[in-house]
């Protein structure tokens, strides 16, 4: 576990403990265990400023009542996600459950994000469920697409690049996921590569690319493999 993840996830997980089994963590801050330690550095990140991002497994209203009882307050309420603040000032974003969306593709990805998870032990007493890397790729791309921000200014795209660059097993894991999810991920990777700023965005996300531009190439190759290109 990286320090920033422990600093953010542990207080959040402790604060929402009664509802902890009703959420799955889906943010880059919860991916510390997925990232290969000796991999290229990605970004001069200030991840401390992230909110912990989660996906609800039940309706937001039901979780909301439990969070209020735990002493959290709701700071923002969107159509499909809410932002809550713990009594110690940490933020948690809760995205709607799979059944909360009318979009069949989004619903499918959320279903898999809730089903395909790994357990991350923050302390011997506190564990959280983190969505699998392949579903994170799909979820982050989906959230990027919904935001309609440009590729170069979307932090979720940088999160995807970090995942691809620092989790070498991702390509194999994507091969193993159900076909409908794999198809979506391949289409997303292809869409990313089709953008003419793709390599520029990768180079900017990889801190070491300034001195060693060749570190971009393996990441582009990984995206190409995910997209199913020869």
């Amino acid at each position: 576990m990286t320090d920033y993840a422990t600093q953010l996830l542990l207080p959040v997980a402790t604060a929402i403990r009664p509802a902890l089994n009703r959420v799955v963590f889906i943010g880059v801050e919860s991916c510390g265990d997925y990232f290969r330690v000796d991999a290229d550095r990605v970004r001069g990140a200030s991840l401390r400023h992230l909110a912990a991002t989660t996906l609800a497994t039940v309706s937001l209203d039901r979780i909301g009542a439990e969070l209020v009882a735990s002493g959290l307050y709701r700071d923002l309420r969107g159509t499909d996600e809410e932002e809550w603040v713990t009594s110690t000032g940490f933020r948690i974003v809760i995205c709607g459950a799979p059944a909360d969306t009318a979009d069949p593709i989004e619903s499918m990805i959320r279903e898999y994000a809730v089903l395909l998870t790994r357990t991350l032990a923050l302390t011997p007493d506190v564990s959280v469920r983190v969505s699998a890397p392949a579903t994170l790729f799909a979820l982050w791309w989906l959230r990027h697409a919904k935001r309609r921000t440009s590729m170069s200014e979307c932090p979720l795209i940088e999160d995807i690049i970090e995942l691809v660059a620092r989790h070498p097993a991702l390509t194999d894991e994507i091969e193993a996921v159900p076909a409908e999810l794999r198809t979506f991920i391949a289409t997303a990777a292809g869409g990313f590569l089709a953008d003419d700023s793709a390599e520029w965005v990768i180079a900017r996300a990889l801190t070491d690319a300034r001195l060693t531009p060749s570190v971009v190439r393996p990441v582009v190759s990984a995206f190409r493999r995910i997209a199913g290109y020869p």
């Binding site: 990286t2 970004r43 001069g44 200030s46 401390r48 000032g89 300034r210 001195l211």
Partner: protein
């Protein structure tokens, strides 16, 4: 046919002009001598910087005062491309490229700032931090630690925009705006 006179030339901002602009954002309508001593730049350099900043419409026409929104836009969207980060090997120096713990406590100076996961320094013989060398916007920036911590904090954030990605950029520009607003509030502006 319109001809360009021999003495007409295209003005362009220089990296050190950003420093003067930020100092003027910290202390509007300062005298040139004050800006010079606060930024460790010569009087002539400061004067020329003011002329260039005014031609770029980042200063008000009649006053030595920055127009804040265009300045923030320039720092966010212009500086990383006009003055791209030049990085080198590991060096001893002064920490840069960090967000002070703003949002959670923005009243801390960059001295107590969170060190980013990949740490950059302005190479300096007086520095105490080891990190990857990042060429500062102007040579005497490392000396600001002792004489002008507020400006040093802002320059550190500008560096974060130069070296970071989308998330760092938006965090850093929000922190710069926050720092400037805090100064306004403190001064009762």
């Amino acid at each position: 046919m319109l001809q360009i006179s021999w003495n007409m030339k295209q003005l362009s901002l220089r990296p050190g002009d950003v420093v003067v602009a930020l100092q003027l954002a910290l202390l509007p309508v300062s005298r040139l001598e004050d800006i010079s001593s606060a930024t460790l730049r010569s009087l002539g350099e400061v004067h020329n910087a003011v002329v260039r900043l005014r031609s770029a419409r980042l200063l008000k026409p009649e006053a030595r005062e920055v127009v804040r929104e265009p300045l923030l836009n320039f720092i966010r969207w212009g500086v990383p491309f006009a003055f791209p980060a030049v990085v080198g090997g590991m060096a001893l120096g002064v920490t840069t490229g960090v967000v002070p713990s703003s949002g959670l406590g923005a009243n801390q100076s960059a001295n107590s700032a969170e060190v980013a996961s990949s740490e950059f320094v302005w190479p300096s013989s007086t520095g105490t931090t080891r990190g990857q060398a990042l060429v500062p916007l102007y040579a005497r920036a490392p000396e600001l630690v002792a004489i002008n911590p507020a400006l040093r904090t802002l320059l550190s954030l500008v560096d974060l925009i130069r070296i970071g990605g989308a998330r760092e950029g938006s965090n850093a520009i929000a922190a710069i705006a926050h720092e400037l607003t805090r100064i306004d509030t403190k001064d009762g502006v």
